[in-house]
């Protein structure tokens, strides 16, 4: 472009630059859209192959590693077995193992938000999102069956009932840090209420109840229902009497 002097020249140059930029942006947008489209094809094809040729893929170690790499790079879950007749009937085959791995993965990724306690329905919903290309939707019963397969690895993963709801707990008491937070909270007054725990720590109701119940079972907390406002108080004698100690150690 030839440079011309004067304000008019500058304005023309600016306008031209704007137009180029607009065009560039359009091309960039087009490119992203196209790429997304191709990525979608890529993904669906990979998923199809993972399902159809699973055994053939596993037979060839070198290709298997390349296939995994492809899947990992474009974000395809290579675990996509159909339930099949035998799995349905006898619970054998990879289907429930795959489901188990995916369930634990969901629990791991949501743990920062829920402290290792998740509603079974919520879990199912996330699982279906993961397996959205599955022909048949995963039922709650499938989830429970998959979880029961994990029993071999200890009781660190269990389904508990709270009222009508079913909750899945993925963090065993031995590894749970939630209790420490409640104890810290209780240091101020010597007691906490369920409301307070939910509000101050921004936890769900289920999470708070579960943690407080465990503390009751452990003998660390005591219930006081006699207060005038009618709210149950959980007293922690262990922290109130030596509140100065916890602070300096």
């Amino acid at each position: 472009m030839r440079r011309r002097p004067g304000i008019g020249g500058l304005q023309t140059a600016a306008a031209a630059r704007d137009q180029y930029r607009l065009l560039g942006e359009n091309v960039a947008k087009l490119r992203t859209d196209l790429m997304k489209e191709q990525l979608a094809t890529f993904r669906s094809q990979l998923e199809e192959f993972a399902r159809k040729h699973k055994n053939d893929i596993r037979k060839n170690p070198a290709f298997r590693s390349q296939f995994h790499e492809m899947c990992a790079k474009v974000g395809v879950d290579p675990l996509a077995s159909n339930k099949g007749f035998w799995a349905e009937l006898l619970g054998i085959g990879d289907f429930y193992y795959e489901l188990g791995v995916q369930i634990v993965e969901i629990c791991l990724s949501t743990r920062p938000l829920n402290g290792g306690l998740i509603d079974l329905q919520e879990l199912c919903k996330l699982l279906r999102q993961k397996r959205k290309h599955d022909r048949e939707a995963v039922s709650e019963d499938d989830c429970l069956r998959a979880i029961s397969k994990l029993k071999t690895l200890g009781s660190g993963f269990e389904v508990i009932s709270a009222g009508k709801k079913k909750l899945v707990r993925s963090v065993p008491t031995e590894l749970k840090k939630d209790h420490n937070e409640i104890l810290e909270l209780a240091q101020a007054q010597g007691y906490v209420t369920v409301d307070e725990v939910e509000r101050r720590l921004s936890w769900t109701h289920g999470r708070a109840i579960d943690a407080l119940d465990t503390l009751l079972d452990e003998g660390l907390a005591m219930i006081d229902d006699g207060h005038s406002d009618g709210k149950r108080r959980y007293w922690f004698p262990c922290v109130s009497s030596i509140s100065s100690f916890g602070a300096d150690s």
């Binding site: 995994h68 990724s109 009781s155 150690s249």
Partner: protein, 462 residues
Amino acid sequence: MANFFSKAEVTSSGRPVLLRSEVECHLLSSVDLEPEDHHNFSPLKSGLLILTTHRLLWLPSSSASTPTSAAAIPLPAISHIFSSKKSLKSMFHSPRIRFQVLVSPDGRVFDPGSGSGSGSGLGSRSVVLTAVVRGKGDCDGFLGKFWDSWRARAWETNETSGSGSSSVSGSGTGTGTGTGTGGGLYSSDGSVRMVGVAGILRKEQELWESTDKSLQDAFQDLNALMSKAKEMVMLAEKMRQKLLSGTNSQASATNDEDMGSKEEMQDWLLSVGIISPVTKESAGALYHQQLSRQLADFVRTPLERAGGMINLIDVYCLFNRARGTELISPDDMLQACSLWEKFDVPVMLRKFDSGVMVIQNKSHSDEEVFVRIKSLVTKPEALRSGISPSDAAMTLGIAPAMAKEHLLTAESTGLLCRDVSPDGFRFYINLFPEIDPRDVYLVKDYGICDTWIKAVSTSGLR
């Protein structure tokens, strides 16, 4: 003798360290490696023979006390594999696998990686080696895989991709050269570069058409995908790069869907891990043993992240994710963990009374915890009023249930003694070991007993 072979690295739990994109194909146990006629090395006795896509590895068995180091023969150094002769004699012998290896002039196995051999090893001698399979391995299966790996020449494709991978984000080697303009529409100062706009657009279009075509070709059937695997992996990498960088730069254009797919991508990146998983097919009878070692190597990173102790079920998920489609069952997992007792690995399986199982570092052992508990209970405050499980939990940074477990163990070893009151359990330092049974009234002016008396008496003054 060790100089004859290339050296092979082994992990702390006794698994071979593999090269980039090297995959194990078959394993045989108790194999001797002997020279046929030349005495280049003394025979290697009863070790583990591992065939990978790139090398033949021989690891000394863990039971052997002699410190023979692991040996490696690069597959490109092998000039011939003899087919097994079926004769009456061979029926009574242990099965043998014979192959010819190129030797460089300095009397070592020809190693193409070192660059010592000029050209393709022309003019160098060759030596015939024999692998005697004394164990009950699938020898014929091994020979078949040996041929396959040797013919597949995986090391060659690896070399080309090694040089190509650095430029993957720029111009893809497989799918056309136009990608170089990606992100290059603007020069570095943000103004539009003065090139033929139409030209760029046309190039862009050509690129997309060719990518479309190669996608279609590759996914026709499994064989097509296998032959184009390398190309597709690079395409996948390119797409991932672009999507990740695209959403970064165009902050205004990010909507929920974009964020979702980006998160999905990053989610998945974490799960790429074990390129060469131990499988039943490749390891045969050695499956659980090798799996156990691989798991020990794998678990160290997540264990560190979790602070020295991690739920077994969490590891089950992470390990399987890293293995891709090669799932292992919970039973195999448990068996692999229980084999750790037999090997020298830095991790251990621990069972709690509640039935919960965790994996922990050996260094994260009881002794270390006891030292910390001791320093906690000998503080003046604690000498006076003891500690509760919740105190220990907060100072040690662990869950109260866990802390209680530790305190009870410490009590049973005589480090602590308990006081049960309406406040719950409180633990004090155990003073009895310091009291001399011959003179119970003697108060030494040193030791914990003395500190305790001082601490208690000052509180009395208050």
